[in-house]
Symmetry: D2
Subunit: 457 residues, 4 copies
């Protein structure tokens, strides 16, 4: 680990208009770190624009974190000797994502996100794993000691691939869904006690499960046990749901939610499902929350169409161009993301306990060793060690263990290019459980055809 | 372990007209063991009749295994000081079984057996676990060193309860479904090579999974690898199925099967599912093989109605009476069951390697420690040690791990009498995956009401 | 967990003139906790004096932590309903300790402490385990949800017994030896960089091993890797040792050390042994550091005779009396111990990461599951979760694993009262490795005779 | 796996005058296998002579197993496409072995064998591991699917290296020491009951531990529990020992033993140490059985000097030449070794349960995963699966776990060539426990110098 003021960060997917911008802003606002960020992207122009935007930002007098940004066309050139590697890519294009999310609708399967589990998440994994093989091999060869932080979904398959291909890698995956649940807990606390605002760091939770289907079995705020408060909250809002904002639930919003899925799972399982309802629903059998759009609406969450993502991306592209052409200045505001805090902890600038995704070495009992699981982790200088989280609640474990076990099949099918195995794995997803075998195969074939250029089989 | 000629066997469920008769006949035909069999049953009259039948049998000149049979009304009296305990009961009556099997039909869920997984198997488990708590406590108190052999279904929940309540117990569970698959393999061998008949002991298989959803990933006969033969067999018979007998598949038969489910699973997963199709289908999502009676017929297996069991039981009852009244002699013929061979192995009369159900101490990698799993086991004098079976094929593991994980919830819900937990566990079964939440709850409530006297909640 | 201002602490060994006083002072100086401390001791008068001293202290105007102290004669009365239990006893008297420490000298075995490993520590364990059985049974019956903090040595055997007897206990063991090593690291840092004083909380270490034979394989201070600094330090001071104080090494001091053992172990194993030299030496073969008093002197540490402890205790007894008789006021000063911080963390008043002793559930790979190991632990409200520490350095593991494996034998021999087993276990200790079998048995018999009233065999 | 009549066996160390001859004879006497044996040896002439001898043998009319023998100079040529690989080499020459066994005598350390544990075994391991790296890499490249059977000592380090270098290897290690203990048990049986001769296959034992320090915790012969018989035997012969032959104990014999070490260990630990006394003594602290030659004589076993091995080898060399020159015919007699039975089992010609050395995947609880352990194993066609052996007796585990933990250090030091690590590992051996640090280092340096050409550091 180098001097915190002479770091090299390789950002793969560095043309991104979302996460890359977030990181640039967060770096700009922190005086404790500086160095070089190498932006690599298959969209070279976007990476170059981000580099220019980043360097402009770094030159501003209101910026305290000084970084040099470079666009680097060559993957290995970007990675060589890096201290940190950030992986944050879109695997394929929105065309493939449209297939992931919408092709299953013809078979009566609706997906709210389609990037993690379900038919969409599974097909996305099949095309992502080969890309991650390339990353892992390059990291092994040119920066084996780097800390590698993954943001790409499907999280578990990405991290699993990194370790499968390069067992010595120092990689973990980060996701903010648990933060959102901690935020919800702060509202629960407020409503029950008037205490407000609770900082997320003070909402102590025990986290265990797999990414986007993570569970909290204990939560407290300082001396206060939040579990009974959450229990009362869940009972009070079971029918109507709960909105954190004055806007309330917006049936036309694509990210809107009233936490009804989360509450429903709590009432049945006695533990808090710690992700957004759109994600949680996708890990369950389809009939529960995703039977059709009217059921989704009744549960007060939303299906996010890819068309929305396309429009959103166009807006971001315009914004990027305005920043690049200096028509507009990048606004500085804390993102609430944790990437920079993690970099600092790994540089030794104060320990941090947070939730991350790592291969299971026992931190979640009852799930297979080697499966990528999400738990708390103690980060300190050059060190990220999982905190023993115990075992999932007894009725939750079967819901999660099948997803944990899917990882191995997904990665194996994609690394070997075995189409028959890929179908068997695809079919095992709980969202498929309502389809007959012929329909499932027809759906698989259709989705595979639509995304064929990216598939290894 | 006593002298093989002075054994005490306690048979719980000893009034049985099926398994108890089988054991009596097998004991009668083996000269190497003798002693006392104590028959205990809540149907005292049936136990007394079996004792009389057994003693009559023992007195016959053509019988070489001499045993004294006693009907013992008191459970602990029957168990006290026993060398072996056989557990083989019907948990509840056919009325409860009718609810298990047929109540779900109103919700579009068809079950071929209904005693292991699915809504029927789960409810059956809830009422069986409390009975097994009583057995385990009694064994702990009055015959802690006995070898306990379970035949009751649901196998895994029964064995799991025994170990949960009395961790020092020496119990395992036996099931002949794998034998049937070995028998099928002998036909596969015959068709491919002309070799016939292969003895089951020579069909070497590696067994791993949970009872009734056990898998074989390697099989051989002497020097011959059976896996490629099975592969060719599966491809040849995928569409039409395969009948072992000249009778062929009988669409009116309640136990008939053409192995089409088994073959279909093989073609997708590359491993041999080692149970009858009626059992296998129940571990999968309902739409695959059990969507409705016509789908079952297309897969050429059968739904066994409880009415059939009632008729069958009446016949057995008549036969028992005829034997008891000495109108008819018990016919002697080897059953093909393995109980007596196991007793002999445990007495030290020659080691035996066979498949049994035991808590996982690592014999199946990837499944939770403590879950009851089925693998091969080396039995010798006073010793039953699992053989390391490795890990399930990668696409099979998620299908099995969820069932393995269910065990803990089933046992916990039943031992604590927590109805909310019981519903959460019930809902997790893959057969339920096609139901919406409201329907699932309605079904649970209806089945619970129908079997209420036997339920702990 | 109750209100932090209405806690009940049961202190077993509450007549103590050392640790009990420390706790009373630390509680007095902290405004965030209050409640009742029940002092239980077989020396009832000492407990009563401490109660009086504690109440006097609580009444002082300069004291911010208000506690009510009660001497409670009955163990179960003291424990009933407690939130926290502190276990800190002297198992037996100094007469037994004299046997532990000095009897082996007749056989050429010198011990620097004699309370953890070696012949002394092993015999001490044999008499402590039965006492801990009584504690565990009482806790199970009257305060099963309490957090139990053990300070008594031998630490591992004490904690292991608690979990063996009451598997549901929430107990951990605390020891300040790692703190001492962190303190040494602050000197290493100062000498290398001039930074001073480093707070212990900023000396981040990864801790793994068994109590008093704990190892640190990574250490950092903020952004600085301390391992290369320690390497240079070790090489510089290998011959002469290192003294932290101006006094330097005092060859007449009974606790004096120049860290030469610690340095020597580092130079061979590449990891930092994290306890005082007096403890470390006792885990190694005797010839290394304890061959005879001249070897001890050459390594610049000390043998602590029990006669010194007797004199020291007399001084403490006098001091206690003066305090009790109000001839003197208890002086307030932070102890540097961590008990009160732990209580606060468990009450939810801010998380704490520190090193504790817990049964191994995977936090130290390569050591047996269930063995009590020392690692970092994340403490928060009602929660103490080990941090995954990985695996010991490859050449250290054999040194530690044998001690970890001894625990099971020690506890089993003491709980069953099996003298033959006790001798076999005793003989396995590495300090005994230089003795012939006859001598070892003679030593065992002599020590057993000298402490017979306290032994279970 | 090929046709049992068209096998290719690669024998590395094929010039051997002991094991190679044994294998040739056993193959000659078995009609069920045939094919080609490729003999590779760095002593090319010896391999060529053995090939000639083997082919002569194969041509004899009294021989039923027909094999073609070839001497192959090139390691990879010998291995290419082999079905089976036998590894049986002398690592270095008798000069190195003389250093291993006798150099420590100058420091008061006597070794009875010097090839497994202790200073000799450890140094031997350091020079063997690099050779095994070469073998593993070649097997990985040219016959990855072969079954690899190791006979070379130190067994555990050899097998561990094979798996470390090529994790996919199908290797196990075989040793006949447990057979010897089964043979002893047949005498115990005879003396107690008159039953004679018991076949080894009928002496059922549960085996667990590390090679040459393996333990038996259960033993039976048909219906008879052998443990109480052994207990009586041990008590009866504790003082005088026991000789199986009419010759009795021969104080001048180099392999003679009266089982006194084995009996002494049993009396203390309650389990049967299942290797010859010469091996067992070396795993214990030196003062127990190896303090000096008079102690060895008192325990009635023997130190085997390397000079004896040199003389013995000369005799074998002469015999080989006579056979090669057809002055003498190879006499046929069953060896009692099990290699050919294992080949047959792996070919599918009937399953076999026997003891072998394999990496721990849970078959011995309490020892580290990955360490090479010895347990029973079920062998069948293309399959060798360990039988779960449970946990070592509580007082035995610390004796064994340290040796299990040493493996990792031995292999690491040798593969990395880290001399410092090598010394640290060397020092951890229990035979060294009586030496001071300076003496231990002097011994290490002297032994390293004497064997330097073969060492990786």
């Amino acid at each position: 680990m180098n001097d915190p003021h002479d770091l090299t960060i390789a950002y793969i997917g560095g043309g991104s208009r979302g996460w890359a911008t977030t990181l640039m802003k967060d770096l700009a606002m922190d005086p404790d770190l500086s160095g070089t960020v190498r932006l690599h992207d298959i969209d070279r122009e976007a990476a170059a624009m981000n580099a220019s935007i980043g360097n402009d930002l770094s030159a501003r007098p209101d910026v305290v974190g000084r970084w040099r940004y470079e666009a680097v066309d060559d993957l290995r050139g970007a990675l060589a000797g890096a201290d940190f590697v950030v992986l944050s890519i879109l695997p394929g294009t929105f065309a493939e994502m449209a297939s992931d999310v919408h092709a299953p609708e013809a078979f009566g399967l609706y997906q709210s996100v389609g990037d993690t589990a379900g038919p969409g998440g599974t097909m996305r994994a099949f095309r992502t794993v080969p890309m991650y093989r390339v990353f892992a091999e390059a990291i092994r060869d040119v920066c084996p000691g780097a800390w590698v932080i993954n943001y790409t979904n499907p999280m578990a398959a990405c991290v699993r691939t990194l370790y499968e291909v390069f067992p010595g890698i120092r990689a973990f995956g980060c996701c903010h869904e648990v933060f959102g649940t901690q935020h919800l807990l702060s509202f629960v606390l407020k409503d029950a006690t008037g205490l407000w605002p609770a900082h997320r760091d003070d909402i102590e939770v025990n986290v265990l499960g797999v990414n986007h289907f993570t569970w909290i079995d204990r939560a407290s705020y300082k001396g206060i046990d939040l579990m009974p408060l959450y229990d009362a909250f869940a009972k009070a809002h079971a029918e109507t749901g709960y909105e954190r904002t004055e806007l309330g639930y917006d049936p036309t919003g694509y990210f809107s939610s009233s936490e009804r899925v989360k509450i429903d799972l709590y009432l049945r399982y006695g533990a808090i499902a710690a992700a957004g309802d759109r994600h949680l629903a996708e890990f369950c059998p389809s009939p529960w929350y995703l039977r059709d759009p009217s059921v989704v609406a009744a549960w007060k969450f939303a299906l996010t169409p890819v068309s929305w993502r396309v429009r959103k991306e166009a807006e971001l592209r315009d914004r990027q161009r305005r920043w690049f052409e200096r028509q507009e200045a990048v606004p500085l505001a804390a993102s609430g993301e944790e990437g920079v805090r993690q970099l600092k902890a790994l540089c030794g600038l104060g320990p941090l306990t947070t939730n991350v995704n790592l291969p299971n070495r026992g931190q979640v009992e009852g799930l297979p060793l080697g499966a990528v699981v999400e738990t708390n982790c103690r980060m300190a200088r050059d060190s990220a060690r999982p905190v023993a989280a115990g075992r999932l609640p007894v009725a939750v474990e079967p819901l999660v263990s099948r997803h944990a076990a899917q990882q191995e099949g997904i990665v194996r099918a994609a690394l070997t290019g075995d189409r028959g195995l890929a179908f068997a794995v695809f079919l095992n997803d709980p969202q498929l459980a309502g389809l007959g075998l012929a329909d499932a195969r027809a759906l698989f074939d259709r989705m595979a055809a639509a995304t064929a250029p990216y598939l290894p089989f």
